[in-house]
C-alpha cells in the first residue's frame, strides 16, 4: 500500500475548497450552488405547490420530490441527456436524506420539488447536490428542523480519506481497486440520513469513516449557514 500522499497534496482529513452561493436561479422559490473543488452542483426548489395527479397527493402531509441530473458535459465521456438508472437511484436516496428535516405536515396535498443539476463532476456529486439542496430548501422558506450536510469519505488502503477526487476513487494498485467510497449525510443531531458504500472495508474502518465524515459535515453546516446569512447582509 503506497498511497501515503494525496494527489493534490491535501491532508487525509481535509476537504477540497468549498464554494457556496444562494439565489442562483431567480425563477425558483429557493436555489443554491455548492462545490467541492471541481465538483459543482446547483439546486433549485419549487414549492410547496399543487401536486398533480390526484393519486400522488397525500392528504396528511406534503410530498418531497428530488430529481438529480448530470448535464451531458459534466463528465469526460458525454452522458446522454435524460434520466438514467443511476440518476433515478440518486434522486431516490437524496429525497430520503432530506425528508426527515422537512416539516411536511404543514403542507398536505402539495409537493416540494427539488431539482439538483450537476454542472461539473469530479466525484462526490450526490453529496454536493444534497448540500446545495439543503440551502435551497431553507432559502425557499420551507420549514425545516435543520440543515442536512453530506460528504464522501473513502478508505484507500487503510487511510481514511475525506472528500476524494475521481482519481482517488479510481485508484488501483496491482490491478486491484483500492478505494472504498462512502457517501454519507448527517442531520443536525448527528443521525445519519444517507449511507452508501462501494468497495471493500471492515466494520471498524467504516466506523472511522463515519466519524471523519461527521466531523467534516460540521464544517459544511457552518458554511451553509454563513452562506444563507450573508444573503441578507448584502442588501
Amino acid at each position: 500500500m503506497t498511497y501515503t500522499k494525496r494527489f493534490d497534496g491535501r491532508a487525509f482529513d481535509e476537504m477540497r475548497k468549498i464554494e457556496a452561493k444562494v439565489g442562483v436561479v431567480p425563477n425558483a422559490d429557493g436555489s443554491a450552488f455548492f462545490s467541492f473543488g471541481d465538483t459543482k452542483a446547483i439546486a433549485a426548489v419549487y414549492g410547496p405547490r399543487t401536486l398533480h395527479p390526484q393519486h400522488l397527493k397525500n392528504p396528511q402531509k406534503g410530498v418531497l420530490r428530488c430529481y438529480y441530473d448530470m448535464i451531458s458535459f459534466s463528465v469526460t465521456e458525454r452522458k446522454k441527456p435524460g434520466p438514467s438508472r443511476r440518476s433515478s437511484e440518486i434522486s431516490f436516496v437524496t429525497s430520503q436524506a432530506l425528508s426527515e428535516v422537512v416539516q411536511l405536515n404543514n403542507f398536505p396535498n402539495s409537493v416540494i420539488d427539488v431539482f439538483i443539476t450537476i454542472i461539473q463532476a469530479d466525484a462526490s456529486t450526490r453529496c454536493a447536490g444534497i448540500n446545495a439542496a439543503s440551502m435551497a430548501l431553507a432559502h425557499a422558506g420551507i420549514p425545516m428542523t435543520g440543515l442536512v450536510s453530506a460528504v464522501s469519505v473513502g478508505n484507500i488502503g487503510g487511510n481514511i480519506t475525506v472528500d476524494m477526487i475521481k482519481e482517488e476513487e479510481d485508484y488501483e494498485e496491482d490491478g486491484e481497486k483500492y478505494a472504498t467510497d462512502t457517501p454519507m449525510a448527517f442531520l443536525p443531531d448527528g443521525r445519519i440520513s444517507l449511507l452508501q458504500l462501494d468497495g471493500k472495508t471492515s466494520p471498524e474502518m467504516l466506523k472511522k469513516a463515519i466519524e471523519a465524515g461527521r466531523k467534516a459535515c460540521v464544517k459544511i453546516t457552518d458554511i451553509q449557514k454563513k452562506t444563507l446569512k450573508s444573503l441578507e447582509a448584502e442588501k
Partner: protein
C-alpha cells in the same frame, strides 16, 4: 400563474406608446454576459446571461460513423434540455416540441453557415468521423431563450478543442485535451436574433412577460462572410399569428445590424471575462 391577461393587454398598450415593461427601447437588448470554459470536462463550454435569462452550453466530441451519403463529413447534433429548474412551465420527461424546435433552430443556424468545416472532421473516409455534440441547458428562463442558446452554442464552439485521440486503437482519450481547436471558419460565424411581434410592434429580447404576450416570432441567423455584406443563413417563424409584408420588411431592414451588435456584445464580454480570469 402565468402572465395575467390584464398585464398582457397593458404590455401591448405600453408598446403602442413606445414603452416597454422594463423601460428599454424596442430594439434594446438587456445586458449580455458570456463566459467560456465553465465546465472543465467539456471540450468546450459557455455560459450566456441575458438580463436574468441564463443558459449553459457544452461541446462534447465522439468518434462515430459518417452518414452514408456523406462519407467524409463529420456530424453534429444539437440538443436542448428545458429542465424544470429554469421555469415552472417546464416539466420533466422526454423533450417536448419547444425544446426540439429550439434545438433545431440553433442547429440550422450553425449548419447552414459553414462555420464548422465538416470535411476536416473526417478521420477515415467512410469509417470514422468526429461527431460534435452541442448540448444546451437553460438554467433560468426570463425570456429569449433562443438567442441566449444560439449565442452560448457559438461561444462554446469557438473555444472548444479536440480531445486526445489514439490513432492506433481508434479510441478517444476522454478527459485528455489537445490544444487543437475545432475547424471553424470565423468569417462564417452565425449569430442569431429573434424578432417578436407583440400587438403591432416588433421587439427584440423580450422578458418572459413580453414573450408570453407575443403572438409570433421570427428567428434569423446571420453571418458576415469576409466582413462584407450580412448573409442570412437560417430563418424560423414561430407562433400561430401570421406576419404582414410590412412587418417582414421592418424586420429585414434591421438584419444588417444584427451581426455587429451581437458580435460586439460577445467580444466585449469575452474580453471582460478573460481579464477577470487573469486577476484570479
Amino acid at each position: 400563474m402565468e402572465v395575467t391577461e390584464l398585464t398582457k393587454r397593458r404590455i401591448i398598450e405600453y408598446l403602442n406608446e413606445g414603452k416597454r415593461f422594463d423601460e428599454r427601447g424596442l430594439r434594446d437588448f438587456r445586458k449580455i454576459t458570456v463566459e467560456t470554459g465553465i465546465s472543465k470536462n467539456a471540450e468546450g463550454s459557455a455560459r450566456v446571461i441575458i438580463g436574468k435569462t441564463e443558459v449553459l452550453a457544452g461541446v462534447k466530441m465522439a468518434m462515430g460513423e459518417p452518414y452514408t451519403d456523406s462519407p467524409d463529413s463529420g456530424t453534429m447534433m444539437v440538443s436542448v434540455e428545458l429542465s424544470p429548474i429554469a421555469s415552472q412551465k417546464f416539466e420533466l420527461g422526454p423533450p417536448k416540441i419547444e425544446s426540439i424546435e429550439l434545438a433545431r433552430i440553433v442547429d440550422r443556424g450553425i449548419r447552414e453557415s459553414g462555420f464548422i468545416d465538416f470535411s476536416k472532421l473526417c478521420v477515415k473516409k467512410g469509417e470514422a468521423v468526429w461527431t460534435i455534440f452541442i448540448d444546451i441547458y437553460p438554467i433560468n428562463h426570463d425570456g429569449n431563450l433562443i438567442d441566449a442558446s444560439a449565442l452560448a452554442a457559438i461561444a462554446a464552439l469557438k473555444t472548444a478543442v479536440f480531445p486526445e485521440y489514439d490513432k492506433e486503437t481508434n479510441k478517444v482519450k476522454y478527459g485528455e485535451f489537445s490544444t487543437k481547436k475545432l475547424p471553424l471558419a470565423d468569417e462564417n460565424m452565425p449569430l442569431t436574433t429573434t424578432f417578436y411581434k407583440i400587438g403591432n410592434k416588433i421587439v427584440l429580447d423580450p422578458i418572459v412577460e413580453e414573450e408570453e404576450t407575443a403572438e409570433a416570432r421570427l428567428s434569423i441567423a446571420v453571418s458576415k462572410p469576409k466582413k462584407k455584406e450580412v448573409m442570412i443563413n437560417a430563418i424560423q417563424k414561430g407562433g400561430y399569428t401570421p406576419l404582414t409584408d410590412a412587418e417582414l420588411d421592418e424586420i429585414l431592414d434591421y438584419v444588417p445590424k444584427i451581426w455587429d451588435e451581437i458580435n460586439d456584445a460577445l467580444n466585449k464580454s469575452l474580453e471582460a471575462s478573460e481579464k477577470h480570469k487573469k486577476k484570479k
